[in-house]
């Protein structure tokens, strides 16, 4: 998606059927190495110049009992020679390493799609675990798909025999055998992968050689046509992309890099306080490797200590950052209030997952928007920024840092499990493209009789004063404070004044953010599909396809969730209808209705899976019943007058 070149009209949007894009899903036991297989396939796909998007989908259990339905781990990749925005609706190819993987994934497969199954794993015991009465390979239950079933296990054992591995270790090479076959199917180079295996097993060359042998054997299996006409080798041309240096990046990596870039632009060292939680831990794991950038990491005893230590570091003059997922963010709430009250910069990254409570730890959702915007005691406004893709997360992290230090406020950066784990090609940015925003600490007395730690500037921002600065000693805290001096003062007038001042300051952030743009289509018209966060890909494709059918629909994707861009209200009112697809029960829709009195309509999905393009396309179609070129959607409003135009509600 980083490779999108221009406006929609120029894009050869991937209208179904899509001969120039393929969706492959690798599914197996959580111990089968499917995420690794998918990751490496992603890399070779990227190296071959295709655009791509991935969707890793794995269970919450680390090693669920082998062969069980709930232990299935899957990795889906959509790649092709056109711009790819999503991980794809329906796979064309399903690689099923055992019966459970077949059972849990086959229904998603496109009719006529290809199943590659390892018969070595279709034993009586594994079939029972997958709740199959009889092997689906032997009956006609898979008739609507092509089935290519052979004993990958045995072929792998044969291939790695010369290396004298134990049976268990030898079978672990199955994923490389399968990957070899996949690489052949799509005409991929094995070279980079062989190098990667050599590096990975540098300390154990026998394992490296065995894995390489398995990879080569899988590749040769395809080449020597032993599979007999079932599959043909496909070659997808490289996608035309903006010239430059590319790499793949996950959201967790991009956020880590963006935070480091932001700290550099601010001229600050960074202190990261975190506590292990899925799917946020990856950010901590990335940052520990970046200490030469002035990053200190602290694995705290709990979520509360993680944010409090970060606030402590901000107080001492560094950029405090903390990160978590919904349940951990809930624990941090009180401390966020203190950061708002003491007006200290802080970045809080929320990698959203399915909730409430423990919910769906490894699945994606966008249901923490209320929590981000409203979820604290008291009137406690703080800016919220939402990333829409892995590469966008880099820009959003920089933006969060900028707002935090320029406005002396905590900022919440929203991402989700999908963005955190998914990978996409990334046109490597030049750090010099961002204008620096260096921080100035107060060094000298700013009042006639002493230091005034709460003296606000024209933007309502107080000075940042590092303890250790001679002559500026002062005390701050969570109790309401007098104007300028910051001394304890909970008189009615003061609380009113300071509450207003804190709100105005955060509202004022809107003046520093760019106006909302329409990312596909134009301002004004029949329908705007308004999204935020990781729904970008499917919305963009669905709107693109709908526009290709001649429908007057535009895509608006909002990065600044709070405060909202100043022109957003007028922009939304320029459309007849507004549709807000979200992976929650309608949170952003409610915010938009509240802020602008627009009749924003919800479209909600909370299955732990991203929207498909087809779902969104169908939803868009319901607004154009009878319009020329509209094939019609699944749901058609019974009576058009039941959907009053926005203009009618609030001219």
């Amino acid at each position: 998606m980083a490779t999108i070149l221009a406006e929609d009209e120029d894009i050869a949007a991937s209208h179904a059927p899509q001969p120039d894009a393929v969706v492959v899903r690798f599914a197996g036991d959580s111990g089968d190495g499917m995420q690794l297989t998918g990751g490496q396939f992603t890399l070779s796909t990227a190296l071959s110049g295709n655009d791509l998007a991935t969707f890793p989908d794995f269970p919450a259990e680390i090693r669920a009992p082998q062969g069980t339905l709930f232990g299935v781990s899957a990795f889906q990749i959509n790649f092709g020679s056109t711009a790819i925005d999503t991980a794809g609706d329906q796979p064309d190819v399903l690689v099923a390493m055992n019966p459970a993987a077949l059972k849990t994934n086959v229904d998603a497969l496109k009719p006529g799609g290809l199943i590659i199954a390892d018969t070595g794993e279709f034993t009586k015991r594994n079939l029972e675990k997958a709740k199959y009465a009889a092997s689906p390979i032997d009956d006609d239950s898979l008739a609507k798909w092509q089935v290519l079933a052979f004993d990958i296990s045995a072929l792998t054992l044969e291939a790695v025999k010369p290396f004298g591995l134990g049976n268990k270790e030898a079978l672990r090479c199955k994923n490389m055998w399968t990957l070899g076959l996949a690489l052949w199917m799509f005409d991929r180079e094995r070279g980079p992968l062989i190098q990667w295996l050599k590096d990975k097993f540098a300390k154990n060359p026998v394992l490296a050689d065995a894995n390489i042998a398995a990879l080569n054997a899988g590749h040769a299996y395809g080449e020597t046509a032993e599979i007999g006409g079932h599959i043909k080798q496909q070659h997808l041309d490289p996608v035309p992309s903006a010239p430059g240096l590319y790499r793949t990046v996950t959201g967790a990596e991009a956020i880590s890099y963006g935070l480091v870039a932001g700290a550099q632009l601010a001229g600050l060292k960074m202190f990261f306080g975190g506590y292990p939680i899925t799917p946020a831990s990856a950010i901590l794991h990335n940052l520990v490797k970046l200490k030469e950038f002035g990053v200190t990491t602290f694995q705290a005893e709990d979520e509360i200590a993680a944010i409090c230590s970060a606030i402590g570091a901000s107080y001492a003059g560094q950029l405090g950052v903390t990160s978590s997922s919904g349940p951990g963010i809930a624990l941090k709430g009180e401390a966020m209030g203190l950061a708002v009250m003491t007006e200290l910069p802080l970045v809080i990254v929320n990698s959203q997952r399915g909730g409430p409570s423990t919910g769906l730890p490894t699945k994606t959702e966008q249901s923490d928007l209320y929590q981000a915007v409203y979820g604290r005691n008291g009137d406690t406004p703080l800016p919220v920024v939402a990333a829409c893709s892995p590469s966008d997360a880099y820009e959003c992290a920089i933006e969060a840092v900028r707002i935090a230090v320029q406005f002396m406020t905590p900022v919440m950066l929203l991402t989700d499990g999908y963005i955190a784990n998914a990978a996409e090609p990334w046109l490597v940015p030049d750090p010099a493209d961002h204008a620096p925003f260096p921080v100035t600490f107060l060094e000298d007395m700013n009042g006639p009789d002493g230091v005034l730690p709460y003296k606000r500037d024209a933007k309502g921002v107080r000075p940042w004063i590092k303890p250790g600065t001679p002559g500026l000693m002062h005390r701050i805290g969570g109790i309401e404070k007098a104007v300028d001096t910051g001394n304890l003062d909970y008189s009615p007038e003061t609380h009113q004044l300071q509450t207003d001042a804190r709100k105005e300051k955060v509202d004022g952030v809107a003046a520093s953010i760019p106006p909302q743009e329409v990312c596909l289509g134009q301002s004004g018209g029949k329908l705007a599909v308004v999204g935020w966060g990781s729904t970008y890909g499917p919305i963009h494709q669905a709107v693109s396809r709908s526009r290709a059918k001649g429908l007057d629909v535009s895509h608006i994707h909002v990065r600044h969730i709070w405060p909202l861009p100043s022109n957003l209200g007028a922009l939304l009112h320029s459309y007849d209808r507004v549709l807000v697809p979200e992976m929650n029960t309608g949170q952003f829709k409610t915010v938009l209705r509240d802020q602008y009195l627009v009749d924003a309509q919800p479209l909600n999905k909370v299955s732990g899976q991203p929207f498909t393009i087809a779902e969104l396309e169908a939803a868009v179609a319901t607004y154009f019943d009878g319009a020329p070129g509209n094939a019609g959607g699944d749901e058609v409003p019974a009576d058009d007058t039941q959907l009053p135009s926005i203009k009618g509600v609030n001219p």
Partner: protein, 349 residues
């Protein structure tokens, strides 16, 4: 404070902030505040490099009254803030102020981990065995039977011993004192001299909700019989030397416990009285668990045996890790397997 005053000439006045002290008249906190200000003067501490960090509760108002930097944070979490402050700037002299509710109840977890990590700071736990600011509920250090608004029939749960908790968490410095004791500044100075987390339990009289709860050992009359002031390298003696009624603490080798022995004619060696070694961890455990009544209250520096601090270890390790590495963001972003797009073809790099 006049900025021009040299640090060595600062007086107690210079350590007082311009804020009106808002504790109840007669509260033990006033005496502790004075003792801390006295300590700062004696240490010739620099107010600009000193930070008092507190949680929530009566004791946690403390930072507002010191003319240094101060951060009044949220309930129980002061140790976590202190960790961020000290790791971010090890030059700062960090003092934590907490209470039995703040530090042992809602913030017990953070206190434990601060001590375990050995962050170089002083932790002053004001123990008044009650919740003061919320109007008198019993606390985790209240004695069994404490009648309070939340326990009108008397509390039934057993209190914890803060110093035993600290040692259990791995503390390398544990000391005790009490609000009006003239020895308190000396105890605080010893804590400050210790490089690492120094835990000081300060018994503090809450005159409104738990009045005189420490009178049995803190009262001046008969104090010599009820207070065991520990001094490194000196025998553990108490009682009235003038009347010849001297007692000492000895080891009951069979039971592996401490016992009180009479010292006849000043010959404490003959009586088997233990010489206090601040690095003896086993004796430290016994001293903090010594039941008051049968034994005097152990006060002063109970244990002092430094180990590497958390922030030193972090920065030393980080320095090693980054030695020779360049912080080049452009290079970092272009790391790993990359490819260049020129026109339509992609070439692996």
């Amino acid at each position: 404070m006049n900025d021009m005053t040299p640090i060595s000439k600062l007086t107690i006045k210079d350590w007082e902030s311009d804020q009106e002290v808002r504790w109840c008249p007669g509260c033990g906190d006033y005496a502790i505040l004075k003792a801390v200000q006295r300590t700062m003067v004696d240490l010739e501490a620099d107010p600009a490099k000193t930070v008092f960090v507190s949680g929530i509760g009566c004791s946690s108002r403390f930072p507002y009254y010191m003319a240094s930097y101060g951060f009044h944070t949220i309930h129980g979490r002061a140790p976590a803030f202190a960790t961020g402050i000290k790791v971010a700037n090890p030059e700062l002299d960090v003092w934590l102020v907490t209470g039995d509710g703040d530090g042992m109840s809602i913030g017990g977890n953070h206190t434990m981990h601060l001590i375990r990590r050995n962050l170089n700071c002083q932790i002053m736990l004001f123990n008044n065995e009650i919740y003061g600011l919320t109007k008198g509920q019993y606390s985790p250090t209240s004695r069994v039977g404490t009648s309070s608004p939340s326990t009108p029939g008397g509390s039934v749960d057993r209190p914890m011993l803060p110093c035993a908790f600290a040692l259990g968490a791995g503390a390398r410095f544990v000391a005790r004192g009490f609000d009006v004791s003239k020895n308190l500044p000396e105890v605080l100075k010893a804590a400050h001299a210790h490089h690492g987390a120094a835990f000081i339990e300060i018994f503090q009289n809450c005159i409104v909700y738990n009045k005189d709860v420490f009178e049995d050992f803190a009262a001046p009359k008969g104090a010599e019989d009820r207070q065991l002031w520990l001094k490194n390298g000196e025998p553990m003696l108490f009682g009235n030397a003038k009347t010849g009624d001297t007692k000492g603490i000895a080891l009951d080798a069979e039971k592996l416990t401490l016992k009180v022995v009479d010292v006849v004619d000043g010959d404490w060696r003959a009586a088997g009285v233990i010489v206090h070694e601040v690095t003896n961890r086993s004796i430290a455990h016994m001293l903090v668990e010594m039941p008051f009544g049968a034994f005097p209250m152990a006060l002063g520096v109970i244990y002092d045996d430094p180990r590497p601090t958390y922030e030193d270890s972090v920065h030393q390790q980080d320095a090693k890790l980054i030695a020779g590495k360049q912080a080049n963001l452009a290079k970092l972003l272009a790391k790993g397997q990359t490819w260049t797009v020129s026109g339509t073809a992609a070439d692996p790099v």
